[in-house]
Every structure is written in structure tokens, then in C-alpha cells.
């Protein structure tokens, strides 16, 4: 009788003993997650824990945040090692405004480009090339290709196709 009563107590004792030595993966994971979420820089990272090996994933802003995430984990009980698979957010593309040629050199270049198309008249104002007159359908792409390479602000094509 006495022994039977002791069994639950022993089982409880064993449980406490084992959890005390080696925390469960799930518990480690929730503790790591709590720490990651507490820091805005690392909140976007995710973690999995398998047999004490914590693997970090997700996308963070920079190397500092990535290192910080790994640092938060070290010292957590039960973590044997850390695999840091966090990727970095690529920087946003830099907006480089288009280069616009000043009117005088642009006009000179437009003159060069339109010289061989007697039907084409061209004007340049504030970087905008305005085309009037007429051109053959076959010649149009060639002229447009050249004009598109002159760094104009805009090409206003009012040409009539012959």
C-alpha cells in the first residue's frame, strides 16, 4: 500500500528531475521566441529547436540584427548550438533621377539625328523633343532609337506616317 501511494510522487519527482536537466525542445523554442519578439530588431526572426540545436531563420534588416538574434539565444538553458540561417533584407533600389541633356547640346544632337530625314522637323524646349512633319514607317524606329539615346526629358512624336 505504502509503495503504491509513492508511485505518483516518484513519477513527479522523475519528471522534475528530467525537465530540470534537459528542457524540452518546445520549451526552449518558446523561450527563444519570447526573447526574439521582445526586441523589435529581431522580432521577424523565426526559430526551430531540434534536440537542443536552435536554428534561426527569417529575414532581418542587417548584420547587427542577425548577430543580435544569435546573441539573445546564447545562455538559454538547453541550447546546445545555434545555426543562424537568418537572411538579410536587400536594400531598397536607389532612385537615380534620369539625366537630362541641356537644350543647346540636345538641339545639336537632335539636328545630327534628323539630318537625313528631310520631312522631319524637330524642336527642343526644356529637354522635350517635339517632332512634326512626316516620315516613312520603315524609318521611324531607327530615328526613334537614336533620339531615345540623347537623354531627352520626353519625346513628343507628332509625325505623320507616310
Amino acid at each position: 500500500m505504502k509503495m503504491i501511494r509513492l508511485i505518483p510522487a516518484m513519477a513527479l519527482g522523475l519528471m522534475i528531475f528530467f525537465t530540470g536537466c534537459a528542457p524540452k525542445d518546445a520549451d526552449i523554442r518558446s523561450e527563444i521566441e519570447k526573447k526574439l519578439k521582445a526586441n523589435p530588431a529581431t522580432a521577424a526572426a523565426a526559430v526551430t529547436v531540434i534536440e537542443g540545436v536552435a536554428t534561426l531563420s527569417g529575414e532581418l534588416a542587417d548584420e547587427n540584427a542577425k548577430a543580435e538574434a544569435a546573441k539573445l539565444i546564447t545562455g538559454i538553458k538547453g541550447v546546445k548550438s545555434v545555426v543562424n540561417n537568418v537572411t538579410l533584407t536587400p536594400p531598397p533600389p536607389v532612385f537615380i533621377p534620369p539625366v537630362i541633356t541641356a537644350d543647346d547640346p540636345l538641339m545639336q544632337s537632335v539636328k545630327d539625328a534628323t539630318k537625313d530625314y528631310p520631312g522631319v522637323k524637330a524642336e527642343v524646349k526644356d529637354g522635350v523633343i517635339t517632332l512634326t512633319g512626316d516620315i516613312t514607317k520603315a524609318s521611324l524606329p531607327k530615328l526613334m532609337m537614336t533620339l531615345n539615346g540623347l537623354n531627352a526629358r520626353k519625346i513628343d512624336n507628332k509625325l505623320t506616317i507616310k
Binding site: P98, Q108, S109, D112, A113, M145, G149, R153, K154, N157
Partner: protein, 140 residues
Amino acid sequence: MALQDKYQAITNAALQAGISDLQVREQSGVLYIDGTAPSGAVKDQLWDIYGQIDPNFTGGDLILDVKVAANANVTRARVTTDSSNLNIRKGPGTDQPIVGKAAKDEVITVVSQGNPQWWLVRTADGEEGYAYATYLTTEA
């Protein structure tokens, strides 16, 4: 964003063709697509797509500035005028004096493609000067 959608097919083809320095941006109602194509064929392909979207190029909302990579190995070019001779000038510009002429289909030496519009060339007769690049097709 609407303009980027309108010309999405050009941007996609440019990315696929490996235009590494591709830039696409919109400013004041005009979309600017810049980059350097690895070959003239890629540039022509992009222009074909542009021609499908806007057959007569009358939209006034795109500047497609695709240059063909200057290839140091290319030293020969064929004169591809419609019928006339190609003027060779002292300097880069139609205001410059003519120092020589190259016939249609003549193959001449390309000395420098430093200026995208005006290439420095030399004819078989040794005449050296600037010719308008539109009328020159590089030969391998």
C-alpha cells in the same frame, strides 16, 4: 505605377536578356528605362516589344535608352546607310567639316566607341574621323 505596368513586357525582356545595369523609373509622367545590352540583337528585341505596345511611338511616356555594350574586340563595322555614302567628319557633329566618305556596305575600322552617337572610324584609305553610329553595324 501604371506606366511601369504598360511597359512591363520591355522590363521583363530586359531582365531576361541580362541587362545588368537596368534602371526603370518614372518621373513626371515619363518612364525611363536605361541599360546596356550585351548585343545589338537584344536592343532590337526590346524595340520590337516597344513597337508592339506603341506601334508609332506616339505615347510620349517612355524614354527607352538601351545602349549596346562597347565591345573592345569589335574593330570592324559595315556601313548600313539606306543608299548614300556615310560622311566622316573631323569632329563629333554634323556642324563639323567632312574629311572623308565611306560607301554603303563598305567595312571600316572602328577606332573608338567612346561617344555613343559618333564613333571614331578609319577607312581603308586611311581617312580617320567621326561617323554617325546609327549607320554602322558592328561585325564580329
